[in-house]
Assembly symmetry: D2
Homo-oligomer: 333 residues x 4
Amino acid sequence: MKTPVGIVGFRGYGGQELIRILSRHPRVEIVLLDHRSDSEQRPMPKNHSGPRRAATSEAHQLGLAVVFLATPHEVAMELTPELLHSGAKVVDLSAAFRLRTPDVHERWYKEPHTNAALLHEAAYGLPEFYREKIKPARLIANPGCYPTAANIAIAPLIEAGIVNLDAGIICDAKSGVSGAGRKPSLKTSFCEANENFSAYSILMHRHVPEVLQNSGIEESQFSFTAQLLPVNRGILETIYFRAKGVKSAADIVDLYEKRYHGEPFVRVFEPGKAPDLMHVQHTNFCDLGVTLDPATGRAVVVSAIDNLVKGAAGQAVQNMNLILGYPETESLL
Amino acid sequence: MKTPVGIVGFRGYGGQELIRILSRHPRVEIVLLDHRSDSEQRPMPKNHSGPRRAATSEAHQLGLAVVFLATPHEVAMELTPELLHSGAKVVDLSAAFRLRTPDVHERWYKEPHTNAALLHEAAYGLPEFYREKIKPARLIANPGCYPTAANIAIAPLIEAGIVNLDAGIICDAKSGVSGAGRKPSLKTSFCEANENFSAYSILMHRHVPEVLQNSGIEESQFSFTAQLLPVNRGILETIYFRAKGVKSAADIVDLYEKRYHGEPFVRVFEPGKAPDLMHVQHTNFCDLGVTLDPATGRAVVVSAIDNLVKGAAGQAVQNMNLILGYPETESLL
Amino acid sequence: MKTPVGIVGFRGYGGQELIRILSRHPRVEIVLLDHRSDSEQRPMPKNHSGPRRAATSEAHQLGLAVVFLATPHEVAMELTPELLHSGAKVVDLSAAFRLRTPDVHERWYKEPHTNAALLHEAAYGLPEFYREKIKPARLIANPGCYPTAANIAIAPLIEAGIVNLDAGIICDAKSGVSGAGRKPSLKTSFCEANENFSAYSILMHRHVPEVLQNSGIEESQFSFTAQLLPVNRGILETIYFRAKGVKSAADIVDLYEKRYHGEPFVRVFEPGKAPDLMHVQHTNFCDLGVTLDPATGRAVVVSAIDNLVKGAAGQAVQNMNLILGYPETESLL
Amino acid sequence: MKTPVGIVGFRGYGGQELIRILSRHPRVEIVLLDHRSDSEQRPMPKNHSGPRRAATSEAHQLGLAVVFLATPHEVAMELTPELLHSGAKVVDLSAAFRLRTPDVHERWYKEPHTNAALLHEAAYGLPEFYREKIKPARLIANPGCYPTAANIAIAPLIEAGIVNLDAGIICDAKSGVSGAGRKPSLKTSFCEANENFSAYSILMHRHVPEVLQNSGIEESQFSFTAQLLPVNRGILETIYFRAKGVKSAADIVDLYEKRYHGEPFVRVFEPGKAPDLMHVQHTNFCDLGVTLDPATGRAVVVSAIDNLVKGAAGQAVQNMNLILGYPETESLL
């Protein structure tokens, strides 16, 4: 018998991707949980039944092992306590429980956090760094899309002490439009985003603190720009720093390969080569490429993910696999 | 001294295109007329003053020779009487005054027309067919984008009697997303329109009656499908019919060349060749290409325009040039 | 032990899609067969080994159960005899063996067919119509992408006798750019195809005879236009005809549902609704939607597939599943 | 009588843009100069005569005041001496004469420069910096697209001494695909560039030395990445540095406004706002936006141009206007 798992927010892009991935999962059965904040539905073929449906309020009776929240963070904050109370574990794709302390949350989200206890309890769902904390957790804060690509690229460099932090780290990030969600807005209208490219939240994007708390660097050492790319999906981050103590791009490639040895979803390119979005779209991979000028230490790392997969639904399923004791890569390769 | 002309709805795509075209016009000065239905504004460079601004209600005092209405048709219906009363002539880019009789309007727009007198007075602003009616008119109903491309292609064929009307005329129309306006909606969101293509209003698009009343064919003889193309601008219509009394594509090319001799904005391709969107984007041209199988009479005409230029703002300026006695092509070549 | 199957032309878009689909197939193991006509390779992550490699000339020793040919049709014509001789069955994605007689092939491909015996032997790989001929065949001619969408929509209408053939059938077809293959050309360059839309091979596309021979209609009754859509993948065909003997769109929807009862890859929409490309991209489905004006019999069927899946690699795997006795939907849902 | 000016390479994207701009210029008449390296032509409407045609070898007899070279730099190097000898002035859009010394050229272009005398003579055609050198010059080296956006943003910061050069300057540059030229290649194929984004020539793009020689910074202080954006046209550069001696973004905005006072083609946004591609497409503007964190000095400047206009043909016409003594903005606003 298959294990029932719920999805709230299943009509958004993250929710749709969860359905796509979990439909191939041999051990779970999806239950779509209707919720008042749901977005508009698309017409579907006749007799295309799709997964089982229920109201979020019925979660108690359904015996759900895991509920995925693919909703705005305000909704996630509200629903999480009752879902946990129903006995389900929660994988929250929103930002509700990602930051470690209420004051950091309040500073970046401009509102007090209403549930500090759960904030402290939540495991940050980046398996490459917190696998052992994730496995026993009741509540997983699935990481932001930008921080996933940034943390996988940056943290090993900081751990290894090869970054000249006086010069800082620059992360020039570009995301496909699905990262902005499915709710219509002028900025994400076709004629405004197509044939266009624009920077936003320069130096003050809400995803910045997720990078700082994971890598241990200071805000003053990190410059981050988010940019809207006219593609449906994918994030590519071009990360600049001054390297010290390394002689070549190959040294950094080695460092990554050692750090991520055995990791199923991190891939590294030959020195001087870089991934593009096509390498990672529709996959759960994070791809890394390194270029270095040995004479001056100028270094560039390109990090690429699919924002809806490794940056959202794929990583959420990876976390579910860890929580439920399934093979970590199930339905993700 | 330049002649002042007003634009209501200047933040929409039609309005923006009017600004772009009229900014190059040597004889007119633009006044942007603020109106409550205005859409969101984009940030602009400092000191980029742009055209003069006024409230629509001030139109009386401004001595405007022409006012362009680039608004929803409900707004156009409401504003037109007072603007005419102020002494301005009105070029209405909406559908408010395009159909000749209130009952046809009511059938397609599902609401009674509130001003039948103006409906009868309005000149249909397709200069290639109604130039002499346009020149003295107070009120111009600027044609719809789809009908402009369709009428220029179809009417000469009907006039010449070379269409087997028993088999009907098929018009398979594709439009860039700007045709749907600037107001955000799910359907015109980037992630829904990009990498997608969809048919809508199959057999019952509101632009159909503009083709029927101009060409004299019956609804039963005309099948029209509108389709959303993932480009910002441009309309391409693929028009199918059975030809009679012609021996080759060249015969139809000749027919078009004779009909449009001296017309500055209609271009015809060699037999067997067809225009694409790039040929007409950012221009006021309507380009026509003809293919014919002489053995069976199967004929295909491709008609292409820029929906924002010949399909809206460019044709509106062409009409203004006619009304004000300027060279018809001024600022349009 | 897994069954080895070969792919020639694995760097093209069809070949890449075969790899993607077959990688999830539990019963087969891929062998990539290098061939002199191969296109340029993309950089890949280190240690991303990918499938086994061999030379096409080694096919004999590899004991391949099936070889997929995702090559130009000239290459397929040359390789097929030796591959069959090696004991492999061949699923040919090219046009080499699709037409039933050498003279029809010669008329449309402007060159004599060099292997009439195999032409007669080949099964046309459209399972919804030829399933029982496909199962025992040595050589499958995988259908063209345009004809797959057209045949599934049109053939049941002809069989049921509800088309007024005097008025003919119009098929206005639009395809994503991957349909043109991976070899660089001006027409498929980004700046020429992006923000553009163009018709080509009007009334004389090479895929036309595949529709005629499957549906039994005459060339004089069928007008087909191919058009290049600025998306990577997907085909949408808007099909026009005059219906007789039916009272509503629902009648035609019923007809399709009966004809395709039990077919896993054909889906039908509610009357008056139509599929778009997003409904079928990355799937093996063919989706159908019907609109009808009962008063006049004007009918429009929208048929949509993914040109690389149901229009190429997915249908090829469906055929392989039939040949090898696997569940027909294996790795395709 | 209009002044005749020639264009070599008129079928490429730069050449087509020159035609578009110069067609509106009231004082010049275009002569298209055929050359053996020409790319494929598109079908055109009948009777659309277009500009006068001649062979490049006839330039002597035509009395051309200026010849634009929109060709590969090898062709420009070969043609320039004879064109100058014919009495024409040359505006070269290629990289043939942009770098000041043969050794720098050789280092970045991997081949010896064949005409050092002309290299020394050429004026670098960035009017905002070299207007007085451009006016009397016989040979203008029209700047590269990337360096135009970078130099206009960076040089005033260096001049004012507000950049902490120890931390270096990062220029993360993104360009539309037309920047790669019209010659078909796999990288610029629709299906490879669309829905994709990729970095190339990381730290070693040939446009880097144009920034160094104009701003006076060292290669070790400048990290530049070029990236391919899935749009037809436009460049956006996100430029990072550590500011010193300034208290706010407004200080830097002021600095730019003073430096570019009276410049017709440089626009500056309010502090904290940034231009996007739509602001500059189809215009000759370079738009600048500044964000600064006063606490730490982290600064981000966004610089945007249209690569085909200010980055190529528009700037070339601006230079022509300077050479021929016409108003600098003629046909460019």
